[in-house]
Symmetry: C2
Subunit: 310 residues, 2 copies
């Protein structure tokens, strides 16, 4: 087991999907990442910021799941980051109804001393400057640095984003973002280009269409599990990232072969996440449930062909 450090939002979300809507519930990238990773490796050292409106019981719940929250700043008299969104019927697109940055507006991450010996670093989606600041505070380069980002930073801070990307090992983005970042439509060409920008690995998340893992020589594809209902996609990408880095940290093996397994475990965590609103489904999973879900992935793609003409 190795320590995981993650930076990302701890937030309130209000979500509307075709299946219902929630008032403010606890969400945020670091929340989903920590919960998903906690099934594989502990502790999860969390760097984030909330306002004093954030409930102590939600912080206690993270601790209960194995998070160290000494890196979560609580800002007196300020409010927690809030996001509200409404998903369309196809669940692949959503409208953002509200984004209130609040404490995030001037977030200056400060790593507790105990966090600085970090083996596995998961940079959740945040401004590239904050992601870089976290890297700057770690004196010995981690064994693996994984970074998530989004199109928003490509629109307004591409240079900063590229500077951050140049320092990492694994970039996780979706297919549209891979196209935007590279200027290439073909995902194969996009990956080739992005892998010249610094990362050794690229994960392209395609939502209900699965995920691709590229390095310079190889490509691996993991499907998404066909589900009867996708109840709420919020947090799926972060649950994926949490399962991915959690599995890698638990095995301390960052080979391409092991990353394939990590992609499957990450996909399994994402498939749980979308079954209920918010983080609900990630609160009380068993290892037996996770293994059964991974077996579903094996059954989904496994086939047996003997090539006689080779």
């Amino acid at each position: 087991m190795s320590s995981i450090l993650t930076v990302g939002t701890v937030a309130f979300d209000a979500i509307e999907t075709p299946f219902g809507k929630t008032d403010r519930i606890v969400g945020g990238a670091a929340t989903y990442i920590s919960l998903a990773a906690s099934y594989f490796s502990k502790p999860i050292n969390v760097v984030s910021v909330v306002g004093d409106d954030f409930p102590q019981e939600a912080l206690d719940n993270l601790v209960h799941h194995g998070a160290d929250i000494s890196g979560i700043q609580v800002k007196k008299g300020e409010k927690t980051f809030f996001w509200s969104g409404k998903y369309h019927n196809d669940m692949n697109t959503r409208d953002t109804l509200a984004t209130e940055l609040n404490v995030l507006a001037d977030f200056n991450p400060v790593l507790p001393e105990a966090y600085k010996a970090c083996d596995f670093l998961m940079l959740g989606n945040l401004t590239p400057a904050v992601q870089q600041s976290v890297m700057d505070q770690i004196p010995v380069r981690p064994k693996l640095v994984v970074m998530d980002t989004m199109n928003f930073w490509m629109d307004i801070a591409m240079d900063e984003l590229k500077a951050a990307i140049a320092r990492i090992d694994v970039l996780t983005i979706n297919d549209a973002e891979a196209r935007q970042l590279s200027g290439e439509y073909s995902l194969v060409k996009a990956a080739q280009k992005i892998l010249t920008m610094g990362p050794k690995y690229l994960v392209v998340k395609k939502g209900e269409h699965g995920a691709l893992l590229f390095n310079k020589e190889s490509v691996f594809f993991a499907p998404a599990l066909p589900l009867e209902e996708v109840f709420d996609p919020t947090g799926a990408g972060d649950s994926f990232a949490g399962g991915f880095i959690g599995y890698l940290a638990s095995t301390r093996d960052v080979s391409f072969e092991n990353m394939k397994r990590a992609i499957i475990f990450g996909s399994a965590m994402a498939s749980f996440c979308v079954e209920k609103f918010g983080t609900e489904r990630l609160q009380n999973l068993t290892h037996k449930e996770i293994d059964e879900r991974v077996q579903d992935f094996i059954d989904l793609v496994q086939f047996d062909i003997s090539l006689v003409n080779n």
Copy 2:
């Protein structure tokens, strides 16, 4: 080896993609199906209709690839079916620029006697009435009946279409069509519903996102191969169908396990098809190339997880 009977269009296409455009070239569902299937099983008995503007050398080419064309009617003084389309940059959507039914307008398929002992029947996309007429002319039910169709028939002839679907074993449609046919958004629910309409198997083609195979108990997913360039998607679905039924006919095994393999061989044929304009890439493949392509699919999805907690 078993005989394959296919009915479908033999046509002229004029295609424009971001990579170039063609004048009239030979296309049509039955052409792609026959070419793709011919690498696995011969003969391919073809039922279709063309005008006397259709070049003899194109018919000779089908014979050269192992097709029996005695079931292709040549209508004196009439013109061959013509389709013209332009693909958008993403290659997933296209505009139809022209559809000239010509000989197809009153196509009345007549099966030569020698075709009537049919083990594997591939009903290419055509009016459901023509597909039913072909089934009506076969005295002993084939070992396997596979049918392709499209949203157009759902829009204008849903009842006839459902009557045809009730008689078949495997339906191949795309994801939007599965949703339209079932009225369910979730593909899992859509499949469950469609499998109550008659077919024992449903193949949902998702283009660059791969294909799903459902029966009542199981689901299998095959990815599409990530390609550097998709040159021309025309015929990909029919090449898939041809490889699928060709492989099944060559093995005479219609179990779910073998259908998984057939899906992979079908996907391989589709991946070749899109590499060049029209049928060009399907003209001179080697079995070594096909096996290497299937190996690419194996490498793409293969992973090795030992579940210790089960």
